[in-house]
Symmetry: none
Subunit: 186 residues, 4 copies
Amino acid sequence: MRKLLDAAAVEFGEKGFHAASISSITQRAAVALGTFYTYFDSKDALFQALVQDMSAQVKSSAAAGIAQLHDAGEPSALDVEQSALASFLAFASEHKEIYRIIDESEFVDPAAYKAHYESTAARILERLQAGADKGELRDDLEEAHAWAVMGMNVFLGLRYAVWAEGADESKVSQLARSILERGITK
Amino acid sequence: MRKLLDAAAVEFGEKGFHAASISSITQRAAVALGTFYTYFDSKDALFQALVQDMSAQVKSSAAAGIAQLHDAGEPSALDVEQSALASFLAFASEHKEIYRIIDESEFVDPAAYKAHYESTAARILERLQAGADKGELRDDLEEAHAWAVMGMNVFLGLRYAVWAEGADESKVSQLARSILERGITK
Amino acid sequence: MRKLLDAAAVEFGEKGFHAASISSITQRAAVALGTFYTYFDSKDALFQALVQDMSAQVKSSAAAGIAQLHDAGEPSALDVEQSALASFLAFASEHKEIYRIIDESEFVDPAAYKAHYESTAARILERLQAGADKGELRDDLEEAHAWAVMGMNVFLGLRYAVWAEGADESKVSQLARSILERGITK
Amino acid sequence: MRKLLDAAAVEFGEKGFHAASISSITQRAAVALGTFYTYFDSKDALFQALVQDMSAQVKSSAAAGIAQLHDAGEPSALDVEQSALASFLAFASEHKEIYRIIDESEFVDPAAYKAHYESTAARILERLQAGADKGELRDDLEEAHAWAVMGMNVFLGLRYAVWAEGADESKVSQLARSILERGITK
DNA sequence: AATGAATGAGACTTCATTCAT
DNA sequence: CATGAATGAAGTCTCATTCAT
């Protein structure tokens, strides 16, 4: 039930899993306490559903941005990465709770936590290798490069989309692109 | 009391803040339940002390690595960053619980969480600007670059120091260095 | 509604009154949850109806056995008691849930519990006194004798009809008859 | 803890297992709710402890009566059975809750329920066989006779010790003895 | 300083019952 | 008559914290 999932996102985002209470979630959703158990088996089950829901939303938001890029002609590998980060920043700005929810999944549902980052890294790696195949990127790219890119993106999102109100997100994604392009040396 | 802090690191690392219990921590530390309150005011206070303790340990571990580098002659800016990451990977390998503890501080003590990353980023930024001053790094380096570097380091640590048993950590820090040196383009 | 009563007998027999759920009973009966309340006012009302239903069934089963006996000529008082026990054993074998349901009525509907045993004892007493009137049984028979006979029957039923699969029920009823006939002394 | 066990006997006796609440039991025992869990793992565990406690009490009460009998010279087998019933009636008079507690154990802890009656029957059978060995009782006594005797006792106890205030218990045990002695025939 | 029994607020979860369709 | 989603009271259990010893 959408109402409960949305209320849970807010509640978990504000309080974290343990401090959040089903009672408070149902109040936010404006349904009776017992109604919760018509839709979810337990607090854990709700949390897992929420993690999957948000994880899917980030992915599709990035995918949508990239698809749009392709509509306007073949983009370069760096264009693609910059767009992925931009989409992510936009999403995180809108759904600041995603950080706290993903982070807490480390405790509530460790498998989901690992799966989230591993699948994200895998998607990044695919894109990087496509760029290498086109001759735009280095030939030696491997999993660790994907994790490095993901780490950059995640922390830039935390700092400039979640913590900073009104940061210039397009500037941030250009900056990240320039690191990927030529590092930080002179 | 050192015994309690060590026991807490293990307990919080294994179970997370909420699932951890004072009773279990005192058992691990082989002291009576009530003794805990002679040394700490509350579970929260213990957690905060632990976060500061670990935060200080990471910092001094990185600082020690860099100091050593300076003993062998003036290192380059990239040498310094590579060494910082190597120290961090070594520390995280030894203290895998640090990730879970820092992550949970987001919920238990958000100020400490922010402070940890902000001060880490500040230190990185100082180093980067020193590199720029020496003419080794770009002149346009700013806070966001430091966050990007920190994000890379954190995620590489998660993937290769915490999750992967026996990964080749020196290879990882070289790989990160090469990204900082020239990005990922051909 | 027969379907609900039968489903309830199984459910209450398996789980006991409190662990049994209306939802599970309606599922067994293959009707919707709400339908239950078309036929019964409450869970308690269902249970009471069930107790009466089963109580009536035991009684009529014993009565039928005795009636059959009379068809074959005037039976002796001991013949009648033996037949009553045999009928009861047969019934209990078929409806093992009766013990649990009657036992639980002690908590759910204490009046029904008392009424069940008091009316059963009364019927036994009537038969015993008829036997005394015919000169076959002692003249001093009173209520307590009826309760003693009932206790024997109930426990033999528990042990040999409910708990023991495939016990020799006719042997059990003969054994009980011999106790009534001459006690257990040499 | 004795206070909790006694409070539980009253509470379970009055309301039955499910209607009884830990909260009400701790109130009767005049301790805080949480204190309960210092002494018992769960409501079930308390109930099991209580069943064992009461079961042990009945047994030792009967054993004490019989021991006393032996002190006054070798008793006959019928003396022993009569004494056992008398002890039981006295105990049940004092602890009317025992019936409800044992009955409910059928649902809460079926194994304990079975064990209670099986061990009781076993003790009766031993005594009966000792009587047979002495030549006082029949040679063909077997388990079913013990169950018959137990059933008599239990139902006489229910009717005259639990339900009837101030019944003449010695008359009841004499009556039971006379059934064992010569049955109910003329 | 150390101990650990006692405390009680708080949270999840169940399920009989209702009622609009 | 039948349905089943929604309700909310009630109850078990956990655990941080206190305090008398």
